[in-house]
């Protein structure tokens, strides 16, 4: 089977980017990725843009980005599956290359979230679930995951300390990431003292909105091999959907879409959870990372709390998870997050992560969830 490789990566500063438009954010990371790949713009056949449109004043973001990057008349389109948009765009590029239609595809995840008024953002916050039967009661994104957490705590004895330990870890690593929104460590005490959001969550259980962009350039095997030895291969590509509504999930202590997407990715790449050295998982809320350890097979169902408590997801543990700070410390510019995850794993597998380097990282994974788990995309990367 012909392989698809990542030949260039770029990542911008996440945070309140009042200094730039979405296309200017896209250009920053596109420039870096082109330089990183050491290719000319002409080498690119197509682009796939990942952005969640509701947050932009500019309609049809792909068009304005493509023009600003001077990629016209190459084909481009937007991929949107909420917070998993970035990985969906990567999967789309992978499919385009594997089909033989394109040889080199640029994937740009770019997102502004600060262009909207607070009231508009708060209104959008209420429409995350199924608007017909749930949003009419004022559900919010944190409230759904909080309900997962309450159930997980009830069924497995997971504790508040364990939930917030995820935040402590991710802020620890975010402090070392110059692109992260939050670059200070936090303590458990500080986390407990933060304002309540949706029980059992307080502010420190929740990721923050941010502006930001990241870019990946993927190429077919022929171009990638000609590229030299910094290429990282995207060998496992898995994706699945689950009910939009929590009212029709089989259980509320894990994400069936994540389990299925992981299964596909592992199978395609010919590896298992025990082979994974480094992973970026979707920690939109603390419980999400705990459920990810379980859904990805790093530990058994119900043992995710012990996994973080025993520091098994730190560098030096079993699988180094979110050692770029995760969504928690980086911030979550929705369309860019999936590409940011891939950026980190590629950096790790190239051995270029500096003080956050995971030793002997040869197999890495990204786990990118859309909304409250109605979509998950899992990508398995290998060094050789």
């Amino acid at each position: 089977m012909p392989r698809v490789g990542v030949i260039g990566i770029g990542h911008g500063r996440f945070g309140r980017r009042s200094d730039a438009t979405v296309q200017e954010l896209a250009f920053e990371v596109f420039r870096t990725a082109l330089e990183d790949a050491a290719i000319e713009r002409d080498a690119i056949d197509a682009s796939v843009i990942a952005a969640v449109p509701e947050y932009h004043k500019q309609r049809s973001v792909a068009g304005v980005v493509q023009e600003y990057l001077n990629l016209n008349p190459r084909p481009t389109w937007l991929t949107e599956v909420a917070c998993a948009s970035g990985s969906a765009a990567i999967r789309t590029a992978w499919m385009a290359i594997r089909s033989g239609l394109h040889k080199v595809v640029a994937v740009i995840g770019c997102q502004k979230m600060t262009e909207m008024e607070t009231a508009e953002i708060l209104a959008l916050m209420g429409r995350v679930g199924e608007v017909q039967w749930e949003s009419v009661f004022g559900t919010t994104f944190p409230a759904y995951y909080a309900m997962f957490a309450n159930r997980h705590m009830h069924e497995f004895g997971t504790t508040r300390d364990q939930l917030l330990a995820v935040a402590v870890k991710n802020h620890h690593y975010g402090a070392m990431n110059p692109n992260a929104l939050f670059r200070k460590e936090i303590t458990l005490e500080k986390a407990y003292a933060s304002d309540p959001v949706a029980s059992p969550f307080c502010v420190y259980d929740c990721c923050a909105n941010a502006d930001g962009a990241a870019c990946l350039i993927l190429a077919d095997e022929e171009v990638a091999r000609a590229h030299g030895d910094r290429v990282v291969w995207l060998d496992g590509v898995g994706a699945a959907s689950a009910s939009m509504s929590v009212l029709r999930r089989p259980d509320l202590v894990g994400l069936p879409s994540a389990r299925e997407a992981a299964r596909q990715a592992y199978e395609m790449a010919g590896v298992g959870p025990g082979d994974v050295k480094v992973a970026d998982v979707h920690d939109c809320f603390t419980i999400a990372e705990i459920m990810a350890y379980e859904d990805l097979g790093f530990c058994a169902k119900g043992e995710g709390g012990a996994y973080i408590e025993e520091r098994r997801s730190y560098i030096g543990g079993d699988v180094a998870v979110n050692v770029d700070g995760g969504l928690k410390a980086k911030g979550h510019p929705i369309g860019a997050t999936g590409v940011s995850m891939a950026y980190e794993i590629v950096t790790q597998l190239r051995g270029e992560a500096g003080e956050r380097q995971v030793p002997d990282a040869d197999v890495g994974l990204t786990h990118n969830v859309g909304g409250i788990g109605q979509y998950t995309f899992v990508h398995l990367f290998r060094k050789e």
Binding site: A123, Q132, E134, F137, G138, T140, A146, M147, V197, P200
Partner: protein, 153 residues
């Protein structure tokens, strides 16, 4: 009429709009596929199993157990005046699940996963326009149902 449903409505039109009319009259309705008999709550016009678009309503008791819940402090637009409020996911006796607020007889502090509850149809009484919802109450809670309309006299 479906625009009556909830504190803020996002869905004015649906093939199951009459759900809100029945709710106003004190009846919680699920749907039954006319072709294969599959039951669904919340009700839906199109059967997920077969391709039928024909269905009828079937009243449910509202008896259920708490699956999970959360008390929301940071509310979205339109719900700020209610915060904090508690949303509860209830597993229904007849099958299906719903999400609703912990209601008047149920103290949010007393909500526990696994406890038995009664879902009760409600009308927002003090708004001039018609608005309906349902709430999660202690088992045994009762409520009024409008008489079923008879034929011509």
């Amino acid at each position: 009429m479906f625009g009556w449903f909830g504190k803020v409505s996002f869905v004015p039109y649906t093939k199951v709009s009459d759900f809100a009319v029945h709710l106003k009259d004190g009846r919680l309705m699920g749907s039954v596929c006319a072709d294969c008999g599959r039951f669904a709550f919340p009700p839906r016009a199109d059967c997920p199993d077969c391709l039928s678009g024909s269905f009828s309503y079937r009243e449910i008791s509202g008896v259920g157990t708490v699956h999970t819940f959360s008390t929301i402090a940071a509310a979205p637009t339109g719900f700020e005046d209610m915060a904090p409020y508690t949303v509860v996911v209830v597993d229904l006796e007849e099958g299906g699940r719903l999400l609703a607020w912990a209601g008047e007889t149920l103290d949010p502090a007393d909500v526990k996963i696994g406890m038995p509850v009664q879902v009760v149809p409600r009308i927002f009484e003090e708004t001039p326009e018609i608005r309906v919802y349902y709430s999660v109450e202690e088992p045994g809670a009762t409520w009024g149902k409008a008489p079923v309309r008879g034929g011509e006299g």
